[in-house]
């Protein structure tokens, strides 16, 4: 294995003209190994090679094709197909000279700085980056399990077969049926995601199943984009905006009090899910038992399994890191980023993408014996309330005096008085972003 890798890496020394020719490491090129080829891992690999053409980069990923989670709810309403979520590693390999190894990391030796592979052998690293994504904790909802999620009660929060199943279940839902989404407790991947999914399902039902109901149960009393998403729900799906969210709402808001197509049950109204009765297609919440035709549970989550196996997680199941370099607080020379890491940033693709660039720079600085800089980070999440209705959350982050990531004080959401054209542009940008963002990470 090591020999094969060496030969592959040697081949990568022929660099394309896109790469920087200056290097600190011409004599002894360091080797950076990345576990996980999602947004965080892929972006780290690409930017490491952009920043210094003489660092060798190996990316270990078990799936030969990446299925992007961002935008994957659009498969459920048929806006796109599963194929549209697929992203290849071709550009990372051919354009950036990243050594992509399709295999699974099964452990590591932090003293010898070796990553062990499922197919045998191990790879030595000078610095290790772990971008493990999330593990869904199905079992934390009594009555729920991975088996049920794969066959009957899909989660679809890591895109794949369960996403396809949700699509099929929506199509098969009887007229006037109920589609229930159980939103997860914080922290979780893609903060506006459950609410956007509710909107997309409601929009589909308006056209194909106009007497259907969409219910979102929630163990929280607010969510990212809440007021702006609720305004979209109100305008499109007859949602009644709760009084505590009415401040600053525009004049066209007219809560009728009549139930609309979409209903949101927050924690204070009994929205916390207590158990699932899959046989009777019923969800037990603190408030009541709700029977539904489609049940979509987004369970609690924690850092991806490989991070746990490597001892990178804390008691809550997430990975504590230094915010200058995202180096693990538990293992030196190992950096953890993306959804799995602990910070004030949302667990989003955009966050992982900007963290990856900070890590790439920090690793090169550390290898060169320099202290990493204090980084500036950003997050932008677009979300849609339906066709021609795009909203967002935007944040800039810097380190505070304790060296921890802190959100800069600035407005975060689309203005409540956004014009129709601004909302339409927001949706066009959301769609365009799916492409330009994927390119910044993978191409």
């Amino acid at each position: 294995m090591q020999r094969r890798d060496f030969i592959k890496l040697a081949g990568c020394a022929a660099l394309s003209s896109t790469l920087s020719t200056r290097s600190l490491f011409a004599a002894t090129p360091p080797h950076i190994v990345i576990i996980g080829g999602g947004v965080g891992g892929a972006t780290t690999a690409k930017y490491l090679r952009l920043m210094d053409a003489n660092v060798r980069v190996t990316l270990i990923e078990k799936n030969p094709v990446y299925i992007r989670p961002y935008g994957s709810s659009e498969v459920i309403n048929g806006h796109i197909g599963m194929k549209d979520l697929e992203v290849t590693y071709t550009a990372l390999k051919d354009k950036y000279g990243v050594n992509v190894v399709i295999d699974e990391a099964i452990g590591f030796d932090p003293d010898k700085q070796l990553v062990k592979l499922w197919q045998g052998g191990s790879i030595h690293y000078d610095r290790l980056v772990v971008s493990p994504g999330i593990e869904l904790l199905y079992g934390q909802v009594p009555g729920y399990s991975k088996t049920l999620a794969d066959k009957k009660i899909p989660s679809g929060w890591i895109p794949g077969q369960q996403t396809r199943l949700l699509r099929e279940q929506l199509l098969a839902m009887p007229q006037g049926g109920t589609f229930l989404i159980a939103a997860p407790p914080a922290p979780y991947r893609c903060p506006p995601g459950p609410y956007e999914r509710g909107a997309l399902v409601a929009e589909w039902c308006q056209k194909h199943n106009p007497t259907a109901k969409v219910i979102i149960t929630d163990p929280k009393n607010k969510f990212v984009t809440d007021q702006t998403m609720m305004l979209g729900w109100h305008r499109r799906y007859g949602f009644n905006i709760p009084p505590e969210f009415m401040e600053g709402m525009p004049e066209d808001v007219n809560n009728t009090g009549k139930p609309g197509m979409l209903e949101w049950i927050p924690e204070k109204d009994g929205g916390k899910i207590m158990a699932l009765d899959a046989e009777n297609m019923t969800v037990e919440t603190e408030g009541s038992d709700i029977k539904a035709d489609v049940i979509n549970i987004i369970p609690p989550m924690r850092a991806g399994i490989v991070a746990q196996k490597m001892g990178l997680t804390n008691e809550q199941g997430w990975c504590p890191v230094n915010h200058y370099s995202f180096e693990s607080e538990l293992h030196p020379k190992v950096h953890v980023l993306g959804d799995a890491s602990v910070s004030n940033m949302p667990k989003s693709g955009f966050a992982a993408n900007t963290q990856a660039k900070v890590i790439a720079k920090a690793i090169i600085d550390l290898l060169a014996g320099r202290e990493p800089d204090s980084p500036t980070l950003e997050n932008v999440c677009y979300a849609v309330a339906g066709r021609d209705y795009g909203i967002f959350v935007a944040d800039v982050f810097k380190l505070n005096d304790k060296g921890r990531i802190a959100r800069q004080s600035m407005p975060r959401y689309a203005p409540l008085d956004a014009t129709e054209v601004q909302l339409r542009l927001g949706e066009i940008y959301q769609q365009t972003w799916m492409k330009t963002f994927t390119e910044d990470c993978f191409a």
Partner: protein
């Protein structure tokens, strides 16, 4: 609505995209036009593309000579946060987002400050711009100005 674009073309020295938004919304409110009379979705996207290209074309004349600014410099690191939408090193395959590579320094600074001071309407750039200091904006501008522009790699612009 066809007149909107003509008006934009005839007005120089403004953020053209913000003008699109203002004109559209003004028309929407004033005349209560039915949805089918509005620009269609492809037309709206096409309009963004055209406006972006016109803004860029207006800048070409002012392109400064290139200074070298490294991809790991403080300036570059700040811009890497823009790349999620505007492309790696400001080169983007879909010019619905303004390509930033090669943008004259002062143009970038003015645009960001206009966003920051709510003088230019947009979607989220007004928010993002408020997260950066004037010094940081100037640094970002210096990096993008140092790059050769490659808008013409956008296949739709041919």
């Amino acid at each position: 609505m066809k007149i909107t674009h003509t008006i934009i073309k005839s007005v120089a020295g403004f953020g053209a995209l913000s003008l699109v938004i203002m004109l559209n919304s003004a028309t929407l409110n004033a005349d209560n036009i039915e949805t089918e009379n509005l620009l269609s979705r492809p037309e709206l996207k096409q309009l963004i593309h055209e406006v972006v290209r016109e803004e860029l074309a207006a800048m070409q004349a002012a392109m400064p000579e290139k200074a070298s600014v490294g991809v790991m410099s403080e300036a570059a690191m700040l811009t890497h946060s823009c790349a999620g939408c505007h492309g790696t090193n400001g080169r983007v395959s879909d010019a619905a987002f303004m390509p930033l590579a090669g943008m004259p320094q002062q143009e970038f600074i003015n645009t960001m400050l206009d966003f920051r001071n709510d003088k230019r309407t947009g979607t989220l750039m007004g928010h993002v711009a408020k997260g950066y200091s004037e010094a940081e904006i100037a640094l970002m501008a210096s990096y993008y100005a140092s790059l050769s522009d490659s808008l013409l790699t956008d296949p739709e612009s041919e």
